[in-house]
């Protein structure tokens, strides 16, 4: 299985003895899985916001794998281990890049669009859909966007992560 090397460049790195977590702010859509699952490690109000001593390596891997975008990624510090693809890494790829797993599925193009209401967070849309805003229409293919639900984003209609600071509940 080929790894996508772009995930590991152009961002920040956080290390413990076993793994390095890579953080790419520009790819984040504020889906908020990371801090909801593991605030001890991922706390947006702290600097630096990632504390690799906050939990176990297994738990950190599990939560990084939940990230629906390429904003968070991880690698073993021991390069040898990265070469042998284990189940955990397969899951990682399966979740992030489903197109690599079911490319011959004839039904995949008719998949319903996934519309997720995140707890106290944005609307996360994923799939093939037509997005219309500000008088323009865009075709979105196999991709993901997040729409603000709290009303305070500076980047309307998209989420910019401010719901947390604003204390949005809903």
């Amino acid at each position: 299985m080929e790894r996508n090397e772009s995930q590991y460049s152009g961002g920040r790195r956080y290390k413990n003895n076993d793994i390095t977590v890579y953080w790419k702010p520009s790819a984040c859509i504020h889906a908020s899985y990371c801090y909801r699952e593991l605030l001890e490690v991922f706390d947006p109000s702290r600097r630096p916001w990632v504390d690799m001593n906050g939990s176990t390596t297994d738990k950190i891997i599990e939560v990084v794998n939940l990230c629906p975008t390429e904003a968070l990624a991880w690698k073993w510090n021991d390069e040898e281990k990265n070469n042998s693809v284990g189940n955990d890494q397969l899951n990682h790829i399966k979740f992030r890049r489903p197109e690599l797993m079911n490319s011959d599925d004839p039904d995949s193009k008719e998949q319903p669009v996934s519309v997720k209401i995140m707890a106290d967070g944005p609307i996360v849309l994923k799939g093939n859909f037509t997005l219309s805003y500000n008088g323009t229409k865009k075709e979105i293919h196999d991709s993901m966007i997040s729409i603000c639900r709290c009303g305070v984003s500076d980047h309307m209609p998209f989420c910019d992560g401010q719901h947390r600071k604003a204390g949005f509940i809903g």
Partner: protein, 63 residues
């Protein structure tokens, strides 16, 4: 021959100016806050944060 690879738009997502997010078509709505799942075909979701019936729009943005 490869027309199967063309990904067809399954839903229309319309950001209504100063209003809700209108979604029509083939979509699955999953509300992680209230643990609900539905495929309503059409829905209007609150974008202002003030709805008393979240995640749906209840026209509170007009107040």
């Amino acid at each position: 021959m490869d027309e199967n690879k063309e990904n067809k738009s399954q839903a229309i997502i319309e950001v209504i100016d100063f209003g809700p997010l209108k979604i029509t078509g083939n979509f699955l709505l999953k509300d992680l806050q209230r643990d609900k799942e539905d495929s309503p075909g059409e829905v209007r979701l609150c974008r202002c944060g003030k709805s008393g019936n979240k995640p749906y729009c209840d026209e509170s943005h007009k107040k």
